[in-house]
Structures are given as structure tokens and as C-alpha cells.
Amino acid sequence: MTNTQNAAMKSGYAAKRKAANIVIYVILSVMVVIWLFPIVWLVMRSFSGDNMIAPKGFFPTEWTFDNYINLFAEWDADANAWVTPDVFPYGKWLLNTFIVAVCSAVISTLIILMISYAFSRLRFKTRKTFLNLGLILGMFPGFMSMAATYNIMEIFGLKQSLVGLVIVYSAGAGLGYQVSKGFFDTIPRSLDEAAKIDGATRNQIFWIIILPLSKPIIVYTALTTFLSPWADYIFVSYFMKDNVDNYTVAVGLYNMLEPNYIANYFTRFCAGAVLIAVPITILFVIMQRFYVAGVTGGAVKG
């Protein structure tokens, strides 16, 4: 084969590859448009002054920031003052969700770390039994026993309260140990043994040796447990019933779309949704590698 033939073949391949790449670029661009369309549409609606639910155009006919402001304060013409909205107190919901998320994140993270350390590093007689029981409990549909949980909370005097919500979220965290157990499993046991020879108790090993090595998994656990109350609709909607003041954002926003309200509150719903989606999206994009490791069952290496 001569050099020119070789070059011609090479350029033929290059052209082919180029064509293939152009096709891929086109497909990717079309897909990105389809995938981003609902999200950008939501953002556009949140800045729209017309309050239309199904506009013909994509961009708002009149731009405004009012939807965001109205989430927290409405202008009362009679009183000539800003008042907090009474039908949909978004600011209150935001605060509720934040409090619940922070409290349950702190408690859940502690619980998950404790359980997964015990399952991963300690060997005791009932370990296998507990692991199997945890597996079995995890297979019941989460909200199957929702009504019973409500009854229990009623007995404790905690029904429809934020404290009750924190307790339910944190109590359930005991079953979410898999990812962090997987992480602890990868820390060499020789570290424990060396410390044990030096006279450290298992308690000291946990605090002084294991926890400092586990920063990535602590951050991951704290973030996932912090994020879950923001997106939980099922349990909160059943648990809070009509106690609007104690709603979290998810339930409140859902209710804005009820037939009675949607006509007046749709753009405000969009603003509220954008407001919580932005920080959650940023956190998720940062944390994606942990998410992948958690799902594929591989250990997170940090």
C-alpha cells in the first residue's frame, strides 16, 4: 500500500467519523432541548406577569419579579401595607421544611453512622439476624403503615406536628445504612487492630480513627438526609392533613395546583418551585459521584 492510498483511507475514515459525530451532535442537541424544555418553561413562567397556565408563546409577554415577592408578602391595598399571604404561607413552609430537614439530617446522620459502624466493624451474635431483619423491613412499601404511624403519633400528642415529622424521618433512617456500611467495609481492618493493640477501646476507635477517615460519607449521608424532606410529598400530605401552617414546601406547592387555586396561583407555584429547585439542583450536581457509587453498590472512595 502506497503512502497516498494510506492517506486517502485515513482521510476517508476521518470524514466518516466526522459525519458520525455531526449526527451525534444533532441528536444530543435535540435531546437537550427536549429535556430542558419543561424546566426552562417553568423558569419563564415564574417570571411572567400574565399568570397564564397554557400560553401560546414560550417567553413571557411581560416580565416581572412579583411572583417571587408574592410568595413571601402581598400588597394589601386597604391596609396600605405588605402582609404575609394567608392562604399559601410559602415563607412559613420554607422555614418548616428547613427546620425539619436540618433536624432530621443531624439525627439521621448520627443514627446511620452508628448502625453502619456496628454492622461493618463489630462482630456480635445477633449481627446477621439484624442485617436480615433490616433487609426484610426495607421491602415493605414505605407508606403501607402510614395510617398506623399517624395513630401512634396521635397517642404521643405529636400528630400534625413538625416534631412528629422529624421523629418519623429519623426513625426510618436506621434502615438506610447500606451505602455507609459499604464505605466502612473498605477501611482496612488492620487500622482497628493496630489501635486495639495500643489499648484503644472500640469507642475510641470509632471517634478517633474511623470518623476522621469518613468525611466523604458523612457529607454524603448528611446531604441525602437533608434533601429528602424537600421532596417528600406522600407522607407529609397524609400526616399534616389540613394543618396548612405545618405544611412543608412539597405539600404546599402541590396544593397551589388544586382546581380552586390554579388559575390565580400558577405563576406563583412556578416561582416557589424554582426557588427550592435551584439549591437542590446545585447540591445534586456537586454530589453526583456519590450518588452513582451509592446506586451501583460500589464503595465511595474519598
Binding site: A20, I24, Y25, M31, V32, W35, L36, I39, W41, I53, A54, P55, K56, I111, M114, I115, Y117, A118, L122, I136, L137, M139, P141, F143, M144, S145, A147, A148, T149, N151, I152, S170, A171, G172, A173, G174, D185, T186, T201, N203, F206, W230, A231, Y233, I234, L253, Y254, L257, F266, A273, I276, I280, T281, L283, F284, V285, Y291, V292, T296, G297
Partner: protein, 509 residues
């Protein structure tokens, strides 16, 4: 089939084989589930039997203190000067006695009360008591209760009954520990050593018994807020706790397996609804899983192909859609896809995406929207795996003259398929339980008269939710919950058998 046969198959045959073996694996997995449950009970009874044997032996070999602590807990420890431990045991016994007489006995006695009169017939197995005064209905349609003041709350009785049982089990555990502890301290004393002091004993909870310290609070929380409600709900599946028997004010009672019979054949409406919903759940889970899986991998391949620029940009664009909370994106989709929604308006069409009464459009729509939701996730997961494929595999394939398509079918796809099989099955089980997509998009609708409290796109779990929230048919909801549990447990067992990770669990220890 052995490994050699498998390797010689084409990719298509391999997929067919995997799918076939998944479905043919179901009976085996169910059998295995039964076996595991049976083994569980056998081991439980074995443990109890051995426990009784040791319990008896300790009594026979015990000294006066040990024997005494079989009746008065902590006596053995107290006699051997383990004051702190002894007092704790004694206190727990006293507390348990007070608990039972002040509280527990009532609920155990009322769990099988007799005597509610329904249409003149006495019903047995009622949960709770009532002493109503009846008056005869002038139309002769049975009797009517005129006072409701003295009706028990069946809910409360059942709940406290379960609680009492859990407390009793916990107490038995403490009691057995007490006899062991008494015997242990007796042996220490007999060997001439000084028994451990309280401080020393407490220190053990930071070392040898550190697992107890770590797990006590989480386990107690789980018992009260997860195990107790689940056991309660399982009991409810065997009662008539439905919209006509709502406490407080009404009692409900045990009805045996009749709720299960209803769902399977005796009640035409419920059993037909169950059949249709189960079928749709399986169809949905199948399509939702495989469309997402295959297209997600294709997307990952496109983004990761050599020569494609701005990889991070493309990936981030899709990750953003996955990161927005699902209830937000799904509600937006619902608004967009409305009959008079923005999509129809922009296209100038009138497609009944979510409301088509025949159910065809809604079913297609939920699967399509689910692709929108799920493809970025699969892309995210398989992107990482693609980078793990050893580059020399491709190199040697290229030297052998394989083209891009052959490289995909012979290297990339088999590799990813092998690595992600457990994920595939987990997501199949996850899709059976996929509440969000269905509930936020169609809420199970469009509703149809031929369904009991459900609509055309309802899955078992959304039906369960509606039965709990809308119609208060708690007994039926509990039955559905148990059936979903059985399906998921079977599915998870298949996963568990297939995934190597479970076998390697001890590798690091």
C-alpha cells in the same frame, strides 16, 4: 446451560436468555423465599429450644442466688454485691409488672372480645367492648344503636396490644439476660475472683459491648415507629377495618382471610380491579425499566464517544433535569400535557395525553415522561461504568479489524450488561413501587367505573395510597401492601442471588 454456551451466544440471544431466566427464576425465588422464611422459623424455634435447655440447666446448676433470680430478678447479682446491675434488673421487673396490670392486661383481654350485635346477629372476635342499648328499627331492618358513649376504640386496642406484645418480648429478653448474668456472677464467685463492679461493667459498653450502645437508640426508634406500625398494619389485613367500621365510634373485628379472598376471587369488583392493576403494574415496570436502561446507556455512549467535545457540558445538562425534585418536574409535566395545556396550545393539537378515557394515551404518556425522568439517571450511572472498561480490549479489537458497531455489541454492551444486571432488577422492583410518576401525572386516572377506587394507570402502590387516603379501606390497603411486599421480596431475592456483592460481604472483614 454452562458458561461456554453462554459466551457463544449473540448479544440478542444473551438478552433473551437473561430475560427468560429472570422470569423463569420467579417461581424458584418464591420457593426460596418460602424456604428462607421456613428456615427463619426453624432457626428461631431452634434458638428458643436451646434457650430453654440452657435456661433449665442454669437453674439446676445455680446456687440459691441464681435460683432466686428466676423469680426475683437481679437477686443473684445483688447477693454477689453487683448492686447496680441487680437494682436495674429488679427495677425492670417491677416496671413490667406495673405496666401489665396498669395497662397491658386490658388490651390483651379485649383483643378477642365477643358481642357486637349486627343486624341481630352476635359477631365474635370483636376488638374492644361496647355496651349499647338497642332499639328495634320500625322498618324491621335490624336494630339501631342509640348510645355511643361506651364504645371502645378498636384502633387503640389493637395498637396497644401490639405494643404490649413487643414490650413483653423485650422483657423476656431482659429476664433471660438476668438469669444468665446471675449464673455468670455465681461462676465468677465460685472461681474465687471478685465480681465486676458497676463502673467496670459500664465500661464494657464502650468496648466489648459497644454494639449495644450504638444500636440501642436506633433499634428502639425503629421498633416504635417502623416495626410497630407494620405489625399493626399486617393485623389490620385480617380485620374489617374499612370505611364502614371507623373507630372511634365503631368497632371492627377479625374476619380471617376474607380480605385476601376478596382480592383474589370472592368480590368481583375488587378482584377484577386487582387483576387489571397487577397486569398494568407489571407492564409498566417492564417498559419503564427497559426503555430507561437501554436509552440511558445509548445516551451515555454518545456523550462519551471519542471526538465528542464538551462532554462535561452535555452531561451536566442532563444531570440538571435529574436533580430538580421529581414532584416539581412531574407537576410541570402534568400542567404542560393538559388537554388545554401549553403543549397542545403550542402545537395547535388536541391530544388527550392524560385524560383519554380508553387509557391508551395516558399509559403511553406516563411511560414517555418516565423516560424523561429516568434516562439521565441511567446515563449518569453508566457513564462511570463506561470509563472502567479496559482500553486494551478495544485496542485489540481494533487490531483484529472490528468496526465501531462490532465493538459495541461485542465489548461495550456485554460489559455494561454484566455489571448492571443487579441494578436492572433493583430498578424493576423500584418501578413496581414507583409512586411519584403515576401519582403526580395522572393520579391514577382516568378513573373508570369498572375499577374499585382506582383508575386506568394506577399501580398497586398508588391504589394502596388511594385506599388509605381517599376511601379509608385500611384492611384492603393492608392486603395490597402485603402482596406488594411478597412481589418485591421475590424480586429482591433474585437480585441478591445474582449480585456478587452479597457473597463478598465478608471479604473485607
Amino acid at each position: 446451560m454452562n458458561y461456554l454456551d453462554y459466551v457463544q451466544m449473540t448479544t440478542g440471544q444473551r438478552i433473551a436468555y437473561r430475560i427468560k431466566s429472570f422470569f423463569t427464576g420467579i417461581p424458584g425465588a418464591l420457593a426460596k423465599l418460602v424456604k428462607i422464611i421456613a428456615n427463619f422459623f426453624v432457626s428461631v424455634f431452634g434458638t428458643i429450644g436451646r434457650g430453654f435447655k440452657n435456661y433449665g440447666q442454669r437453674f439446676v446448676n445455680g446456687d440459691a442466688g441464681t435460683k432466686l433470680s428466676y423469680i426475683i430478678m437481679g437477686a443473684g447479682n445483688l447477693l454477689h454485691k453487683q448492686i447496680g446491675k441487680g437494682i436495674l434488673f429488679l427495677a425492670s421487673e417491677v416496671a413490667y409488672i406495673f405496666f401489665m396490670f396498669g395497662f397491658g392486661v386490658r388490651y390483651i383481654s379485649e383483643i378477642f372480645c365477643n358481642g357486637v350485635v349486627v343486624d341481630g346477629v352476635v359477631v365474635n372476635g370483636v376488638i374492644g367492648n361496647e355496651s349499647p342499648i338497642y332499639e328495634t328499627d320500625p322498618l324491621g331492618l335490624g336494630k339501631k344503636m342509640i348510645n355511643r358513649d361506651t364504645v371502645d376504640d378498636s384502633n387503640q386496642i389493637l395498637l396497644f396490644f401490639v405494643l404490649t406484645v413487643l414490650v413483653t418480648i423485650a422483657f423476656i429478653a431482659i429476664y433471660v439476660t438476668n438469669t444468665k448474668s446471675a449464673y455468670a456472677v455465681q461462676q465468677v464467685a465460685q472461681s474465687g475472683k471478685a465480681p465486676m463492679g458497676t463502673i467496670q461493667e459500664l465500661k464494657m459498653f464502650l468496648d466489648e459491648r459497644f454494639h449495644v450502645t450504638l444500636m440501642a437508640i436506633p433499634v428502639i426508634l425503629l421498633l416504635i415507629f417502623t416495626v410497630l406500625p407494620i405489625i399493626f398494619t399486617i393485623f389490620v389485613a385480617f380485620t374489617n377495618y374499612d370505611k364502614n367500621h371507623q373507630p372511634p365510634g365503631n368497632l371492627y373485628w377479625w374476619v380471617g382471610f376474607s380480605n385476601f379472598a376478596d382480592v383474589f376471587y370472592t368480590n368481583k369488583m375488587k378482584s377484577e380491579t386487582f387483576g387489571k392493576i397487577l397486569l398494568w403494574t407489571i407492564i409498566w415496570a417492564f417498559f419503564a425499566t427497559f426503555t430507561n436502561y437501554i436509552l440511558g446507556i445509548v445516551l451515555a455512549l454518545m456523550i462519551n464517544k471519542k471526538g465528542i467535545k464538551f462532554k462535561a457540558f452535555w452531561r451536566t445538562m442532563f444531570v440538571i433535569t435529574a436533580a430538580v425534585p421529581q414532584f416539581v418536574t412531574l407537576l410541570v409535566m402534568r400542567i404542560l400535557l393538559d388537554d388545554k395545556g401549553a403543549i397542545n396550545n403550542m402545537l395547535g393539537t388536541n391530544i388527550p395525553f392524560l385524560t383519554d378515557m380508553s387509557g391508551v394515551w395516558p399509559k403511553i404518556t406516563v411511560i414517555l415522561v418516565n423516560m424523561w425522568v429516568g434516562i439521565p439517571y441511567t446515563m449518569l450511572i453508566s457513564s462511570g461504568l463506561l470509563m472502567n472498561i479496559p482500553e486494551d480490549l478495544y485496542e485489540s479489537a481494533r487490531i483484529d479489524g472490528a468496526n465501531a458497531f462490532q465493538q459495541f455489541t461485542k465489548i461495550t454492551f456485554p460489559y455494561i450488561f454484566f455489571v448492571t444486571t443487579p441494578y436492572l432488577i433493583t430498578s424493576f422492583v423500584g418501578n413496581i413501587n414507583n409512586f411519584n410518576v403515576i401519582y403526580f401525572l395522572t393520579a391514577g386516572g382516568p378513573n373508570s367505573d369498572s375499577y374499585y377506587q382506582a383508575g386506568q394507570t394506577d399501580l398497586l402502590v398508588t391504589w394502596l395510597y388511594k385506599l388509605t387516603v381517599n376511601s379509608s379501606d385500611f384492611n384492603l390497603a393492608a392486603v395490597i401492601g402485603l402482596l406488594v411486599f411478597v412481589i418485591c421480596a421475590a424480586g429482591s431475592l433474585i437480585t441478591f442471588n445474582m449480585s456478587k456483592a452479597s457473597k463478598n460481604e465478608e471479604e473485607f472483614s
